[in-house]
């Protein structure tokens, strides 16, 4: 347990000091957010209708883009092998690293996104459902991203491959994330519950799949 705690702290410190953590992801988020209204047109009504969807898709892409950082560097400098040999099981190591990715990237993004939505004329009453659904959903996103990152570890064209592998898995999260924000008010609660179910299910299943993939690369 102390080991995992140290690993979590190490990953968070690395994300904060190394650059390319929250800052870059947020920068990417902002860039897409500027491009979308330019592509769609500045009409306020249209933007308001599309805002939750655009924010969700931007979140998916930002998480996906930062996914390769979960294992890549540690694999390259060999520290992943040390972690694999540690007394803690590799599944728990994966879980901790995915959790660190969530804390350092996905969670700040999902907290910031609803407020950036103001730029898109987001309806004020959807801010809270959007923030809650994104916080819950982004945990699932980070965990699923860890599967993709472990499957494409050490591949030259990994970046494109990871999107093909992971985006289909993001479909359910997007569906229920959207239903929490655009549907009628009584859909908010069930959608949030299903999102937390997805987060919990991937909390259990994703580390198993990701650890199995890592073992294949570390052999």
């Amino acid at each position: 347990m102390r080991l995992l705690w140290a690993l979590l702290r190490r990953d968070l410190i690395l994300a904060a000091r190394q650059g390319g953590g929250v800052g870059t992801a947020l920068g990417f988020f902002l860039t897409v957010l500027v491009l979308l209204p330019i592509g769609i047109g500045p009409d306020q009504v249209t933007l308001q209708r599309l805002a939750p969807g655009m924010l969700w898709i931007t979140l998916l892409l930002s998480v996906l883009l930062s996914a390769d950082r979960i294992f890549q560097q540690d694999f390259e400098d060999g520290s992943l092998e040390v972690m694999a040999m540690a007394p803690a099981s590799l599944e728990l190591v994966v879980l901790t690293k995915a959790f660190a990715h969530w804390l350092s990237t996905s969670l700040p993004l999902s907290l910031a996104a609803p407020f950036l939505g103001i730029l898109l004329n987001l309806r004020t009453e959807t801010i809270w459902p959007l923030a809650l659904s994104m916080v819950l959903g982004s945990l699932a996103l980070s965990l699923l991203a860890s599967i993709g990152a472990s499957l494409t570890l050490n591949l030259r064209r990994g970046g494109l491959l990871i999107s093909i592998l992971v985006l289909p898995l993001y479909v359910p999260v997007l569906v229920f994330g959207m239903s929490a924000t655009t549907g009628n008010p009584e859909m908010i609660m069930p959608s949030l519950l299903i999102l937390s179910a997805m987060a919990l299910a991937s909390l259990v299943l994703a580390p198993i799949a990701a650890a199995a993939a890592l073992r294949a690369y570390l052999k």
Partner: protein, 239 residues
């Protein structure tokens, strides 16, 4: 069962079985197409376009069946560590992807006269599209990883992660769609389909299944041969 897991035994069995399988496939296709194009009556609403169903629906069935075969083979490969199971999963994927593409393409051709659009974001279309993406990802993994044993291990995980997610994706997409448009739009057949239309459909389904069996055996055979060739080349130091 064990003895057919041996590649040599498997090859000799496949070579013996293939002519019969091809014959059955041909007969079933002849029968099914005759039923589909000649004896089946035109639909009272859809007219002659309903005949697209006979190539479209079996393709969709097969796209799902082949993914199941792929996932089962991957599970067998994980449990029994048998290389033939990996070969079976690997070679099934492109065939399944083609069936999936066929289902999407014929569905699109059918959609134009029926719904007035080449593509509608209906639940079934969307989940079929996602299934196609899963196939593409699986094939891409085999392409991207050069070392065969590692590629096999990673591909097994991709197939099984996909099979866990397919029901979740299907459920969520069904749910998503029912929010946006009523289910009455997509009311093709179901159990309410009439017998003159039902039997050609079922025969076509069987024909597609046998076609898959034949193609799968052939591509397993050529994959085994390709591996033998590769091993020989490595042994001779040509690689």
């Amino acid at each position: 069962m064990q003895q057919f897991a041996n590649p040599t035994q498997f090859l000799s069995l496949a070579n013996k079985a293939l002519p019969t399988i091809w014959a059955v496939t041909t007969i079933l296709f002849a029968l099914g197409l005759y039923g589909a194009l000649v004896t089946a009556p035109p639909d009272y609403q859809q007219g002659e376009t309903v005949r697209i169903m006979f190539v479209h629906v079996p393709a969709a069935w097969l796209a799902m069946l082949v993914y199941t075969v792929m996932a089962l083979a991957s599970a067998v490969a994980i449990i029994f560590r048998h290389p033939l199971a990996d070969v079976a999963a690997k070679t099934a994927a492109p065939i399944g992807a083609v069936f999936c593409f066929l289902a999407l393409a014929t569905g699109s051709l059918w959609g134009k006269p029926m719904w007035g659009a080449w593509w509608v974001w209906d639940a079934r279309l969307t989940s079929m599209f996602v299934l196609f993406l899963l196939y593409v990802g699986y094939i891409a993994i085999w392409q991207a990883i050069e070392e065969p044993t590692r590629a096999a291990t990673i591909a097994r995980i991709v197939a099984l992660v996909g099979v866990v997610n397919i029901p979740i994706i299907k459920f969520s997409v069904d749910w998503w769609n029912s929010l946006h448009q009523p289910a009455s739009v997509f009311k093709m057949g179901g159990p309410s389909i009439a017998f003159p239309m039902l039997w050609p459909l079922l025969v076509m389904g069987l024909a597609y299944t046998f076609l898959f069996l034949a193609l799968h055996l052939i591509s397993i055979r050529s994959e085994i041969t390709a591996r033998k060739l590769r091993n020989l080349q490595i042994a001779r130091g040509e690689n």
